[in-house]
């Protein structure tokens, strides 16, 4: 039984371990990504910039023979730009969209933990002003007295990143 189904069944998760989230830090907040979507974690490496794309689209890298776009989440959500440091990592996720699966890397400040989250412990997200817009948030969960924001990674990457076209072009 998949997670969506579990949620549809009144939020009762038959398998308490079904949901696992990898969390990362962005601008002091902790975000969780469904671990089944995560392909791997990479150190920062040089990207090939793509012309005529939004500035948060840093470019593409060679990931084991595949050309994978890298997006800077700080730039995407208009946070302060910080220099890439030793903890800066790229989380590579595989998302499902209308045109099939895509592999995309996201630059985040640091990777944190892997948590087991029970589906019924996910609270709907109130309208609040976090760094990432609420439309890409699946819910909130209190883990070890910390609030973790669980992301709807498919829509974040598809609608929030890949489908964005560059704005007014510099002429």
């Amino acid at each position: 039984m998949n997670k969506e189904q579990a949620q549809l069944d009144g939020g009762i998760d038959l398998n308490p371990d079904a949901l696992q989230f990898l969390t990362f830090i962005l601008n002091g907040e902790e975000y969780g990504v469904d671990i089944l979507k995560v392909q791997g974690i990479q150190g920062w490496s040089k990207v090939t910039p793509i012309p005529n794309t939004p500035d948060f689209m840093l470019g593409v890298i060679n990931l084991r023979g595949a050309v994978v776009p890298i997006v800077d989440l700080r730039k995407r959500f208009q946070l302060d730009i910080v220099d890439y440091g030793p903890t800066t990592v790229v989380i590579v996720v595989k998302v499902t969209g209308d045109d099939g699966e895509r592999v995309v890397g996201m630059v985040v400040d640091a990777v944190s933990e892997v948590y087991n989250v029970n589906a019924r412990d996910i609270k709907p997200s109130p309208s609040f002003s976090g760094s990432i817009s609420t439309e890409y948030i699946r819910g909130l969960s209190m883990i070890e007295n910390k609030m973790v924001i669980l992301l709807e990674i498919d829509s974040l990457v598809n609608a929030g990143v890949l489908d964005m076209v560059p704005g007014e072009l510099v002429v």
């Binding site: 793509i50 012309p51 005529n52 595949a66 776009p69 489908d163 510099v170 002429v171």
Partner: protein, 634 residues
């Protein structure tokens, strides 16, 4: 009917074999000359029909085998010289081939057969077998064919019109007409018994007058909606190609073991051995790559073969005499390219037939032989395939195109333009010089699509024409879509790849030859020609239009002269690096299409390099040269 899991595979095998058989039948029929009985050809056709019939029976497609049985009977009579090979007979058999193709499509889509068409055609064949003269394409099937139960339809219960008073008039319409009738929703509701799920042939062809036409359409609609089944396409490969691939893999294994021993111990004396081994590895890799590509290569004959039929049918319907000449049919190209080039070729051939080759009277009046010549040829040239479509018809009317272009504002009144550029104007969207729109062409849609399709394949098209003597369209395409011959160019810190096919030449820039005209557009005087130029760094830095270039900065830089859509442009780059074959990786796989880029590739050092899409880049940078008001805002 096709619910079983295992059916999928069986159906696929049957479809592939039958499609090949139908191709054999069609090309055989086209070779047959009326009045003669070429035994070998007839035997070939007969054998193909026989295997389709056998396959249909074996795999449980009774309708196919029943229908083919009648076709086979006709062929058998021709084979045993009981029946003459006539033009009408060939046409009837060709129609049967088309009908069988339709049945194959239905099987593939798992939809219902186009029963009215099948039964109508079958009735005609039966009539011919009974010694009657075939009434041709639009004639109705003989009424008795409908009334007389035929051996193939025994499983379909007949409906009794007597029980329903609504059915008053019974008419018979030919299948060809029924197919074109506007759509309707239900078959069952209009038949005599609403509870009857199976519609018999009789009700299809003979129902109440008002509903007869739409009924048949419903059968068609059902077929169209279901769509084809999603099974991976397969390819037939010559055993020699597989053998050579295996040989190369064997060699690679030997090379690997030779290099593998250096893992254990290595001293300086082994250096030359290591170098030899690496050289061998390089040649193995290259050969293996070529052999692997060979597997995807198919002769262009596959695409050309359909034209025999197309030209025959079209020239007949237009009352023209056309001889089709096919050259270089064995020239091989990638399966994907082959599939995608089909439609543009059909368009160009139709165009040549419609606009190019004149009617018999006009040809005789112009002192030409009455029979027009349409030549399709293919050959390899420097890693590309070149396809030419030429005719000895009227040729393109240079003045007419020019005046039309001036009228539409595409060209200035007193602009000096070369003939080549004038001919390229026919590829503009919506451009047509045809005085009359025919159902074949002349609407001005199409040529731009043709060019776009060819460009999408990384190729280009050129026209050469001489009025009164004919025109030639030359298509140049890469042999494969997966690998491209590229020129690596350095721009700042980045390396980009320009497809070699687009490059005319590369020159050192002489800053004295650079002229800046209005709005920073720069022109470069190359010999006698002024080329619009732009700095690749400006484009790749995110600017669409030209940035002002300092003439001093141009020192030491290089100009890559590119040609697209018949015009030449210059791209300023910092340096030229290697030329190499690159494997194209689509950006769409993980991102989306980016205009100006054809894709990306991974270079030897593992870094990603972007491949430029020259036609779209040229359009972006230079298309508005003639529109000063847009440039003014720059």
């Amino acid at each position: 009917m096709f619910d079983d899991e295992g059916m999928d595979e069986i159906r696929q095998i049957f479809l592939e074999e039958s499609t090949e058989g139908l191709d054999v039948m069609e090309s055989g029929l086209l070779e047959l000359e009326p009045g003669t009985a070429d035994m070998e050809t007839i035997n070939n056709i007969f054998r193909a029909a026989h295997s389709i019939k056998g396959g249909g029976g074996t795999f449980g497609f009774v309708e196919v085998s029943d229908f083919t049985h009648w076709v086979e009977t006709v062929l058998d009579e021709m084979r045993s010289a009981e029946r003459d090979v006539t033009e009408d007979g060939i046409t009837l058999l060709l129609e049967s081939v088309d009908c069988l193709r339709g049945m194959m499509d239905s099987i593939n889509a798992q939809s219902d057969y186009d029963t009215p068409r099948i039964s109508a055609l079958q009735a005609r064949i039966v009539a011919v077998l009974n010694g009657e003269v075939d009434t041709g394409v639009v004639a109705a099937p003989p009424p008795e064919a409908v009334v007389t139960p035929e051996p193939t339809v025994e499983e379909q219960p007949s409906v009794e019109p007597a029980g329903n008073e609504e059915v008053e008039t019974v008419i018979v319409e030919p299948a060809a007409e029924l197919d074109k009738a506007p759509g309707a929703e239900s078959v069952v509701g209009t038949s005599a018994e609403p509870s009857q799920p199976e519609v018999s042939i009789e009700t299809d062809v003979a129902v109440e007058k008002a509903v007869s036409a739409p009924v048949a359409k419903a059968v068609e609609t059902g077929k169209a909606e279901k769509g084809g089944s999603e099974s991976g396409s397969s390819i037939r490969v010559n055993v020699d190609k597989v053998d050579s691939l295996l040989n190369l893999v064997g060699e690679l294994v030997i090379t690997q073991s030779m290099l593998g021993r250096f893992k254990k111990e290595f001293n300086v004396n082994d250096l030359s051995d290591l170098r030899d081994g690496l050289a061998q590895l390089e040649s193995n890799t290259r050969e293996l790559q070529e052999a692997a590509m060979q597997i995807r290569m198919l002769p262009i004959k596959v695409a050309f073969s359909r034209f025999t039929r197309l030209v025959r049918d079209l020239s007949r319907s237009m009352g023209k005499k056309v001889k089709l000449e096919l050259l270089g049919e064995q020239t091989e190209l990638d399966k994907t390219v082959l599939e995608k080039i089909g439609d543009p070729l059909v368009h160009l051939v139709r165009n040549s037939l419609d606009h190019g080759i004149e009617t018999v009277e006009k040809r005789l009046a112009a002192g030409k032989p009455s029979e027009g010549l349409l030549r399709l040829s293919a050959h390899h040239e420097a890693g590309n395939i070149v396809i030419e479509i030429s005719d000895d018809g009227a040729g393109l009317n240079r003045d007419k195109i020019l005046s039309k272009a001036i009228e539409r504002g595409l060209v200035g009144e007193d602009e000096q333009i070369t003939d080549e550029r004038i001919y390229m104007l026919i590829f503009q969207a919506g451009f047509s010089t045809a005085d009359q729109v025919s159902d074949l062409s002349g609407r001005g849609v199409g040529m731009d699509v043709v060019r776009r399709n060819i460009q999408d394949l990384g190729g280009r098209i050129d026209v050469h024409s001489e009025i009164g003597k004919g025109s030639t369209f030359t298509i140049r395409l890469p042999l494969t879509l997966a690998i491209l011959d590229g020129q690596l160019v350095r721009v700042g810190e980045e390396t980009y790849i320009v497809p070699l096919l687009s490059i005319v030449e590369s020159v050192f820039i002489n800053p004295e030859r650079v002229n800046v005209v209005a709005n920073n557009q720069m022109l470069y005087r190359l010999r006698d020609e002024f080329l619009p130029i732009t700095d690749l760094r400006a484009i790749c830095g995110g600017y669409y239009r030209n940035m002002s270039l300092d003439a001093d900065e141009l020192d030491d830089k290089l100009l890559v002269v590119i040609e697209t859509a018949g015009r030449r442009y210059g791209l300023v780059v910092d340096d030229l690096e290697d030329q190499q074959q690159v494997v194209i990786k689509a950006l769409e796989n993980n991102y989306r299409h980016v205009s100006g880029l054809a894709g990306a590739t991974i270079l030897g050092d593992g870094s990603v390099s972007l491949i430029l899409d020259i036609p779209s880049l040229a359009q972006r940078c230079f298309s508005d040269l003639d529109e000063p008001e847009q440039l003014a805002s720059a």
